[in-house]
Structures are given as structure tokens and as C-alpha cells.
Assembly symmetry: C2
Homo-oligomer: 187 residues x 2
Amino acid sequence: MARYKVGLETQGKILEATRRLLGESGFEAITVKGICAAAGIQAGSFYNLFPTKDEAVLTVVRDAISTFDPDPDGEGNDTVEALVDAYTGFVIKDPELGRVYAHMAVTAALTQDHLAGRIQRHHEQRVERFTNAYVREHPDVSRSLAGYRMEILLGALNGLSIRWSIDPTFDICSYASLMVDELSTTP
Amino acid sequence: MARYKVGLETQGKILEATRRLLGESGFEAITVKGICAAAGIQAGSFYNLFPTKDEAVLTVVRDAISTFDPDPDGEGNDTVEALVDAYTGFVIKDPELGRVYAHMAVTAALTQDHLAGRIQRHHEQRVERFTNAYVREHPDVSRSLAGYRMEILLGALNGLSIRWSIDPTFDICSYASLMVDELSTTP
DNA sequence: CATAAAATTGAGTGTATACTAAAAATTGAC
DNA sequence: GTCAATTTTTAGTATACACTCAATTTTATG
């Protein structure tokens, strides 16, 4: 753990580099060597501050998850539209972390054993939060149908996020808006 | 290239193993050593038949793409429902290749440089085929709105495929049916 | 400014990877 | 059955990876 000022600075540089490289090339392609080069340090310095590569990756992932889980205390007042808008809003505001989140939600669950459980849990909570919002807005829709619809909505949102991650000019906001619009007119 | 019978058999064993391992663990985790162990051969034998690992992977990917692009000649008579049903039908019938396809469509475009172009092209063709079917069924909907809707539909289908790939008990067919149903009632 | 703690470096380790080459074994057309 | 072409094996190479450690330098506290 960092105790001196320089150590904290180095920690910051490492996390910044990790975040950028994760967003650029994903969970498979990231290497300690790459992180160190991007941070301008040597491997030994990295391991003075992080016990393993995965620990640095996990720190960034935790950061991405909490960023994209807006205002957890206000859960009882969500609307589906607000949740989707919050997501696309964050993606636009911090595309680097947005890419990390998209990779995480979709690819990392398949390929990163040490993250799979955490990602699965996050997905379930996310579906529940969206479903709660949806039933609150549509009391006449059964909870199970609402769950189906929100699973599809999040599947689509993840799919579109990957599309955007591959092609940064892809206008994810328009697609997300259209999706929410058409959802709100479905009886 | 294989010229003797045993060579062709070995080629078959290699492709079978590659397909299974791709479906099980994805594009990042597959190794020549793993393929050879699963096929019951040595590395030298592999390289007698395939110039590189990527060539074996690409052969399986081509196979997956053509499997999930049903009856290309009948393009002019598609319906969106039939296209989605064909997709989920193939996924159920050959889950191994289905998993390969899902990994490919979503993760490989990000992480496998040698496949990215091919996957991008395939996706664009897929969107176009779906869009053509949709405008044929809904002549009153503009082509651009149809394109948006089909991009979302395919995003969702990809997202749900990944969900199914992570959790094989996930009932992708029900979700896909619901999606098509609700699409057909959208004006 | 002395000193202990922390940070950094540089030069490693071991392991796994894709891929190769030479020799031995097998195949199949004649 | 011969023999050249093909296939298989065995034993490698080179490279990239995560991670380590002893020596050196830097930090900050009294």
C-alpha cells in the first residue's frame, strides 16, 4: 500500500494507464508491461503497489461499476428512461470508462474467471433495478413480463454499447432513446 | 493441405476440437496445445495441415457465419420473424457453433484483429438483410427507422446470445419470440 | 541531518505461448 | 512390392508473459 506522496501518485498513474488500456484493447490484451510503459514506471514499482495485475484491473472495474450505478440511494424513484439516460450520459462523458464497462458487461464474464461472479451479480442487480422502475411506471404489467422486457432492454443496451465500442461514431444515444420511446408505447 | 485419407481425418479432428474449445472458452483462451490435446495429435501434425492457429480458427468462424446466414439465395422472401427463428433454431440445434457465433459477433470484433474486418462486414450484411425484410413487411415505415429498429433488434439478439452463452439455462427463444411479437405490434 | 520506511530500478525467474525442423513412420499409386 | 509423397513424432526455438528480489535512491519524520 502506498504511504508516501510519490507512491500515491504512482498508484494514480497505474490506474489511469490500466483504465485507458482496458478501454482501448480490452481485458485479454492488457499486460503489466503495457501498463508500466504507459505509466512510465518499471514492473517492480507496479508490484510494490499492487499484489497482482488482476488487482489493478479489479480496481478499475469496481470504479466502472459504481460509476454506472447512479445514485443507489434514490433507487425507489428511478424511471426506466432516467436509468437509460444516465447510462448513455456517463458513456458520453467518460468514454474510456464506458468502454471498460461495455467490455466488462459482455466479454469479461466469458473470459475473465476472476470477474465472472462479480459481473453476474451486477447484471442481476441491474435487471432488478430496471424491473422495479418499470413496474412502478406500468403497474398493470406483470412483474414477470416486466423482467423479460428489462432483460431484453439491457441485452440491447449491452449489444449497442459493444457496437459503439467497436465504432466510436455509432450514435448510441439515438438508438437508446428510440428504444425507450418504443418501450413506453408498448402496452 | 491434406492429400491422404489420414490427413483429412486429422484435419477433421482438429476442426472439431477447435470448434468445441472456441465454444467452451472463447477466442482468447484457445491454444494450439489445447487443440492438439483435444484432437489427440502433436503440434507438428497440426502445422502440417494448418499454417497458423488463426487459420484453423478462421475456418471455424467461416463455418459459423455461413451456418447462421440461412438460405442466402432466398433473401428476397425473408420475414424478420423467420430470420430470428432461424437464428434461435440453429443455436438450439448446434449450441457449440452457436456459442462460437455469439463470441464472434460480440467479443472477437474487439479483441481479434485478424477477424475484426470480417465480423464488421458480416454484421452490416446482417443488418441489411433484416432491414430489407422489415421494410417489405412494413412498407409504411421509413427505411431509416427500419434500419434503426433492426440495429437494436440485432444488438438485443447479440446481447441475449451472450447471456445464454454465460448461462446455458437462459431461455433465449422465449426472449427472442417476445421481442419479435412486440416489434410486430409497433406501428 | 540522521535514519528508518518506502519507492524505484534493473536484472532476473519460471512458465506458457506459437511455431519449426529433422527423422521416423505411414500411405497409396504404379 | 517399391518408392516417393505425405503424415507423425520428438525435441526443440524464440518470445511474451506475470511476477520476484537485492541493491539503490528517495521520502519525510524526529
